[in-house]
């Protein structure tokens, strides 16, 4: 079902991100690094989200940053990986890599699919797209996270939430 596993994050943490150079000097209790391995079963999305939210809560994430920003982004990334990446194939897995420290929460979700070009996803808030029934997941991630980046192949997404930034951000014009 939901397995903690070892593994290497396919999207390495950027070296120019604020505070990253300080990480080595912090105590071990400030940090957590772990990985999950999930079969492509949509029923596991909520199980995994609940588990991860619990882990983030233990590291002092709270309020809407926990129940909205992190929850939405994790759920959307997992559902996208299973639905569009692995195309429901139960033989394909989704890997989740989590790093928590006293400045950031970083989550990478990787699937075994062929990837896609995230730049081709249309803005769902444009009037001509407002009545579309899909296409809001990645938009929400970008709205709710401080950083969102995709692997070159497009089959892994990493998103980062800084602890100090006010969230959620409002879209332009609001």
């Amino acid at each position: 079902m939901l397995t903690e596993s070892s593994g290497t994050d396919p999207i390495p943490i950027a070296t120019n991100r604020g505070g990253s150079r300080q990480r080595d000097s912090r105590s071990a209790t400030d940090r957590a690094e772990f990985a999950l391995l999930l079969p492509s079963d949509l029923r596991l999305v909520e199980v995994a989200v609940g588990y991860l939210i619990g882990r983030f809560r233990c590291h002092a994430f709270s309020g809407s940053r926990l129940t909205l920003n992190l929850r939405v982004s994790i759920a959307e990334a997992l559902a996208n990986a299973m639905l569009y990446g692995n195309r429901h194939d139960p033989g394909k897995y989704v890997r989740v890599y989590v790093t928590i420290d006293d400045l950031h929460a970083s989550v990478t979700v990787a699937d075994e699919g062929g990837g896609f070009d995230p730049e081709t996803v249309p803005d769902p808030t444009r009037p001509e797209n407002l009545h579309r029934t899909g296409g809001r997941g990645i938009f929400l991630m970008r709205q709710l996270m401080d950083e969102v980046e995709f692997s070159a192949r497009g089959n892994a997404v990493r998103f980062v939430l800084r602890r100090e930034a006010p969230h959620p951000r409002r879209s332009a014009g609001q």
């Binding site: 909520e46 809407s64 909205l68 939405v72 559902a79 809001r136």
Partner: protein
């Protein structure tokens, strides 16, 4: 998580208990479409006991709104908590739906 359907005057009220997500969105869609097929035209979905809606859930609401309007009906939403309201605002779906602060407010305007 479940969807409880009741009737208040001529309005079909659906209470969403728990979450409206990729795993259960079809269940809600089918319930509402069955009522629509049976001739009902006024629908209120009450989110007072809903913790979370994902983008698939939002998509189902958009789809239902469209299908209900095609039959000259109306779909209203009520009782979005702060997180849910933020989701609707971020996606600008608050401009697409009639959203009431309470069930009473939604029902009184039908």
């Amino acid at each position: 998580m479940s969807f409880q359907t009741s009737k208040q005057n001529d309005v079909v009220v659906v209470d969403v208990d728990g979450q409206l997500i990729v795993g259960n969105r079809q269940e809600l869609k089918q319930k509402v479409l069955d009522e629509l097929e049976a001739g009902e035209r006024k629908f209120l979905i009450d989110f007072a006991n809903t913790g979370y809606i994902d983008s698939s859930g939002l998509g189902v609401l958009v789809s239902l709104s469209k299908k209900i309007r095609e039959k000259s009906g109306e779909l209203r939403l009520a009782n979005l908590n702060e997180d849910l309201r933020t989701l609707f605002e971020l996606t600008k779906l608050d401009t697409l739906f009639n959203i009431a602060d309470s069930r009473e407010e939604a029902l009184s305007g039908f």
